[in-house]
């Protein structure tokens, strides 16, 4: 069954991911790709806490993700791949050509970011990186929950 969702969300694991997407997709594992979290025990501990015990959480750096990607892809369970920022998404897509789509699920306000959608705030630089990603054939849409419309990249960058 493999990875059913590739998501950019700066809150990483939270209710919208576990319940909102996890339940309708029958997710059994979550891969969290983040260089900092993958080397921080206390952060891993906190993120694991938001997930029910029957769902496995795998932490990986971009390097590790590039190596392990094929095993997740051939896993018979359904999984979600999460990254916390645009740079990680771009780095991952560059290393792993099989990543063909990204769901922008939540990138929130920070100094320098402008509102693009209610749940998407981007700097001009980040918006340009997303357009680049799309130009290289990755399908980039914004959608916070499964019941919402998937907003095409042209409408929010």
């Amino acid at each position: 069954m493999s990875l059913a969702l590739y998501r950019i969300d700066d809150r990483l694991i939270h209710g919208q991911v576990v319940v909102g997407w996890g339940q309708p997709l029958h997710v059994s594992f979550i891969v969290l790709v983040d260089d900092e979290v993958s080397s921080s025990d206390w952060e891993q501990d906190l993120y694991r806490m938001g997930v029910p015990p029957q769902i496995e959480v795998i932490f990986a750096s971009v390097d590790q993700a590039a190596q392990l990607f094929s095993t997740w892809q051939t896993d018979e369970r359904v999984g979600i791949l999460l990254v916390g920022d645009i740079d990680t998404a771009v780095a991952l897509a560059a290393r792993v050509p099989q990543v063909r789509r990204f769901n922008v699920g939540g990138v929130h306000h920070r100094t320098g970011r402008k509102e693009r959608l209610r749940f998407v705030y981007l700097t001009d630089d980040e918006a340009a990186k997303l357009r680049d990603l799309a130009a290289r054939g990755v399908d980039v849409t914004a959608q916070d929950v499964p019941t919402a419309r998937a907003v095409p990249i042209g409408e929010f960058t």
């Binding site: 939270h14 209710g15 979290v37 206390w42 906190l46 938001g50 916390g84 920070r110």
Partner: protein
């Protein structure tokens, strides 16, 4: 380390208004910054302002447990943690505090006590049951807020220790089944209580109201939802009932 005298109490009071400045840009962020500020006043001059500003960045979680992030971030500021680590701590707390609060309060404590109260009313306890509900619910609610703020301040960046506490895990394990039992117990009692004969015009009014609500929900589904309508109509019915008596 001891907080500034009275600072935890001030932060607790301010946390009651944490949703007052809710918006899509920062969600609870501004409220969190305001609540954290009393705990930051004894920081050195150059540290106070950036710490308060950090406190007001984007944040979202369960309102009752937000104190845990407030206490933990304030303690980490005092411990001299690097700014980006404090930002990461805040980000990492949003998810777990949200899901913990949902299970503990919205799917536990609140429906548990609601079920018991409805059952008590159906068995004839009347307004005493309502008063009891308000008192007991809020004892638990305020105790949870106070525990969260203290645990955050005590553990700082190591706050996951507090979230692993056996007491909390036991509460989580007990509240779910207890809630299911209370609601299951209340439903048949409430049905019998409500099934007292009521006049033809009352039945007609109920059918017409249900029809109007259905149409209103179809018409403005973007603005209205079932819960808001039900709460609004219940409030109207309560007022009309009191005047009519």
């Amino acid at each position: 380390m001891a907080p500034l005298k009275g600072a935890l109490g001030r932060a607790l009071l301010r946390l009651f208004a944490v949703q007052g400045s809710y918006n899509y840009e920062r969600m609870l962020g501004v409220g969190v910054g305001v609540a954290e500020e009393p705990l930051l006043r004894d920081l050195a001059d150059g540290k106070y302002r950036p710490a308060v500003a950090r406190g007001a960045h984007f944040f979202n979680s369960h309102p009752y447990l937000t104190g845990l992030a407030v206490g933990a971030a304030a303690r980490a500021e005092h411990d001299g943690a690097p700014p980006d680590q404090i930002e990461r701590l805040r980000e990492a707390l949003c998810g777990p505090l949200g899901s913990l609060g949902d299970r503990l309060v919205w799917a536990g404590w609140l429906p548990l006590l609601s079920g018991l109260t409805i059952a008590a009313i159906a068995l004839g306890a009347g307004w005493f049951a309502v008063a009891g509900f308000l008192i007991v619910y809020n004892i638990g609610h305020v105790a949870l807020r106070w525990w969260a703020l203290n645990a955050g301040w005590t553990y700082g960046a190591r706050v996951s220790v507090a979230l692993h506490s056996p007491m909390l895990q036991k509460a989580l394990a007990l509240l779910g089944p207890a809630m299911a039992f209370a609601v299951g117990f209340a439903l048949p009692l409430a049905a019998r209580f409500l099934a007292v004969p009521f006049p033809r015009w009352g039945q007609l009014a109920a059918v017409v109201t249900a029809g109007l609500v259905f149409l209103a929900l179809r018409w403005r589904s973007d603005r209205l939802n079932g819960l808001r309508m039900a709460l609004g109509l219940s409030a109207v019915a309560l007022v009309v009932g009191l005047i009519w008596q």
